[in-house]
């Protein structure tokens, strides 16, 4: 007996569970915005109507790390701020992705001094780096599309970056 074919016709698509999960995640990234400085102001513009981050399904900004799967680090991270960032990253459930927005988050930028962390990748793994000081809102949107492409091809049920060793334990 072939009930499915008769009743549902072409409304059934066969696929792999991994692809369905990736497809769902892709269109509903929930960002936690760790905004500290100038880049955070540009992130505000990215979320506002002209650039409209919701076109990419990422407008559900969560300010609890436990509800988020995309950490957007927008702004300079000082050594004083570093343990806070690390704690927030640790509180996010797997799988999670990280975007370093702008020169400071990527490398410390032109703050090569006693107080500025020389790139957040010293303490947490980063998936996409965005150039700029600060980057234009389009560049932030581009990074989100880049994350979507990455996660499309990744196995869905595994912990990412297990082997990463940061400078803060």
């Amino acid at each position: 007996m072939d009930i499915g074919r008769n009743l549902l016709g072409e409304s059934i698509i066969t696929t792999r569970i991994e692809s369905v999960v990736a497809w769902g995640r892709e269109a509903s990234l929930w960002p936690f915005v760790f905004g500290t400085a100038c880049c955070a102001i540009e992130f505000m513009a990215t979320a506002a109507s002209r650039y409209d981050i919701s076109r990419f399904g990422a407008e559900v900004l969560r300010f609890s790390p436990r509800h988020a799967d995309l950490l957007i680090v927008a702004g300079t991270v000082s050594y004083k701020q570093a343990p806070v960032l690390k704690q927030i990253y640790d509180q996010m459930p797997e799988p999670k992705w990280v975007v370093a927005v702008g020169a400071c988050a990527s490398s410390g930028g032109f703050y090569d001094n006693y107080t500025t962390l020389q790139g957040i990748d010293e303490i947490i793994p980063v998936d996409v780096y965005i150039a700029g000081c600060p980057p234009r809102p389009e560049a932030i949107l581009d990074a989100i599309v880049e994350i979507q492409k990455q996660l499309h091809d990744e196995p869905s049920g595994q912990v990412r970056n297990e082997s990463f060793n940061g400078r803060i334990a």
Partner: protein
């Protein structure tokens, strides 16, 4: 008899030394500081303590009496005059605190201790304010290497400040069943980097303690390692919502040290861009503040014209936020052709957006109930906290540097100084709304009367010569070479320059040793002093009120933490 003569008459050991551009520093004995402060505050009526900073003389080219000197900058009650007091600080015995006379002194002295290691005798809680708790040493000392980084592994619990505060109010966290609530530093309404620990009785805040420094980026140390023109990009990132005002404030201070003024067209361009930046700053403050209270539509209405203003700045300067458009002695280039219609178009959009937003809130019962009579700051309190700018004007004090000590032809423009009545959160928000309209008025007048001519000075030992002179004349090429490789030289001396920025009096205390790199640059940042008052003014109100109060003070972490 002027004020300085009164001081020197009272303290015979006091010596007056010339600073640059007509300013004078009264050098007193450290032991006289206490009495001098009483005289300055009570007899001479200097109401604002603007800044306290130190100078480390270790790397000076000439010999100095002692390694550390302190500088105190005061402003008079008519706001027209400043007084700079200096003294040689003995690092072992320390210097008397001024906390009892000026509330502002508390955090300012903590910062001097944190950055230079000068102790203040009698300070209630002399601990670090910008650097982290595990930090060893004092980074602004000349023998501290700029890249000498120190990792931080944990945050402090702030109970060392909270417990004495509760005890002084006869509270006990356990007995009175208080809840300690930590807000920030990573909290959407704490604007990224501000941390406040609040002790709650029910929903009411009975005591608050704030911690800053999470965005300390070493601005002042970087300044001591870069020539004057290379500091301009760093100033962009002090208050990143109005970068151009910071550019101008720094450039103007250095120009005053050099004794130069810009051609009129250059001045008008600066006025137009500063007022546009003030508008942008206020738009961001209002959009974020109203978003914090749930008024999301305001966010769209106010952010859209801001984006249009950024299109104009992008076309003009090549950047949206961090423009780096100013130079010492002028600016990088003139307005483009057709700027007038672009600018007018933006002003219309800003007007429309602001009016739409105002229509939603002005007669809105929820808006009024949530903001009126929340955290009022009286005029007297505001002055003792060191408030300036819209926050001070909200308390009814009509101090606006643009009208009280006019610079850049501000006295020829017609505009109103906007003041509030009680200084509550409502007044602080509404003053900013109205100031947007006043800035539009100034821009229209300046754009209508802008003269033609040069935009920058012609002295090419300060300002780069035009390219055709660099390529076609030996003198032009030498000017270019010397300016690029060495940088411009500022005569040895000290100077405090300030102007009315979006958040209040933005001052630069610059010390030059005669070289191409400043010996020291200290920023008098309005947000730093406003933040120091924040934990005091939220007491007695609810957590939800405290969030809105923070938004209304418009704390910009970049200039606060530097």
């Amino acid at each position: 008899m002027n004020d300085i003569e009164i001081i020197t008459g009272k303290f015979p050991t006091a010596k007056v030394t010339e600073a640059l551009s007509g300013q004078e520093i009264v050098m007193i004995e450290a032991s006289d500081l206490h009495d001098a402060a009483v005289c300055i505050r009570d007899e001479l009526d200097y109401v604002l303590l603007l800044d306290i900073t130190a100078i480390d003389n270790l790397a000076k080219s000439h010999k100095c009496e002692s390694r550390y000197e302190l500088r105190y900058v005061f402003r008079s009650s008519d706001f027209e005059r400043i007084m700079i007091i200096g003294l040689n600080a003995n690092i072992e015995s320390g210097v008397d605190t001024l906390c009892d006379y000026y509330a502002t002194a508390d955090w300012l002295e903590r910062e001097v201790w944190d950055q230079y290691g000068v102790t203040f005798v009698g300070h209630p809680n002399l601990k670090r304010v910008l650097n982290h708790m595990e930090f060893a040493g004092h980074p602004l000392r000349k023998d501290y290497t700029i890249t000498d980084a120190q990792f931080c592994t944990r945050t402090q619990d702030l109970l060392d400040e909270m417990e004495p505060l509760l005890t002084s109010r006869e509270y006990s966290a356990d007995r009175d069943n208080l809840m300690l609530l930590n807000l920030g530093p990573s909290h959407p309404a704490s604007h990224g980097t501000i941390r406040t620990l609040a002790a709650l009785e029910g929903e009411r805040i009975v005591a608050g303690v704030s911690e800053i420094g999470y965005l300390h980026r070493g601005f002042e140390k970087s300044c001591e390692n870069h020539p004057y023109n290379q500091i301009i990009p760093y100033t962009d990132r002090l208050n990143y919502c109005s970068a151009l005002i910071n550019n101008v404030a720094f450039a103007k201070s250095v120009e005053e040290m050099l004794g130069i003024t810009l051609p009129d067209r250059g001045i008008f361009i600066r006025v137009i861009l500063m007022e546009l930046s003030r508008i942008i700053d206020h738009l961001v403050c209002l959009a974020a503040g109203l978003l914090d209270m749930g008024g999301q539509t305001n966010y769209w209405y106010l952010f859209n014209p801001r984006n249009d203003a950024y299109d104009f700045l992008s076309r003009l300067t090549g950047a949206r936020l961090t423009n780096s458009y100013m130079r010492i002695g002028g600016m990088s280039h003139d307005f483009y052709e057709g700027w007038e219609s672009d600018l007018e178009d933006i002003l219309k959009k800003v007007e429309a957006g602001t009016i739409q937003s105002l229509q939603m809130v002005e007669k809105n019962r929820i808006f009024q109930d949530r903001l009126q009579d929340i955290s009022p700051v009286s005029a007297q309190q505001a002055l003792s906290f060191g408030f300036t700018g819209p926050n001070l004007r909200a308390s009814g004090v009509a101090y606006d540097m643009r009208s009280i000590s006019p610079y850049y032809y501000y006295d020829t423009f017609e505009f109103d100084v906007v003041t509030g009545s009680v200084g509550d959160t409502y007044d602080r928000i509404m003053v900013r709304f109205e100031e947007i309209f006043q800035s539009i008025k100034i821009i229209r007048q300046a754009a209508g009367t802008i003269p033609t001519g040069d935009i920058s000075i012609k002295d090419h030992s300060i300002f780069l010569p035009p390219k055709e002179r660099v390529y076609n004349s030996i003198e032009g090429m030498m000017n270019q070479f010397k300016l690029v490789f060495e940088g411009l030289r500022v005569p040895a001396g000290e100077y405090y320059g300030a102007l009315e920025a979006a958040n209040g009096e933005l001052g630069f205390y610059i010390v030059s040793d005669g070289g191409p790199i400043p010996y020291k640059v200290k920023v008098r940042a309005p947000s730093f002093v406003h933040m120091a008052a924040y934990p005091k003014i939220i007491e007695g109100y609810q957590v939800a009120d405290a969030i809105l109060t923070l938004g209304s003070l418009n704390i910009i972490a970049g200039e606060m933490d530097r």
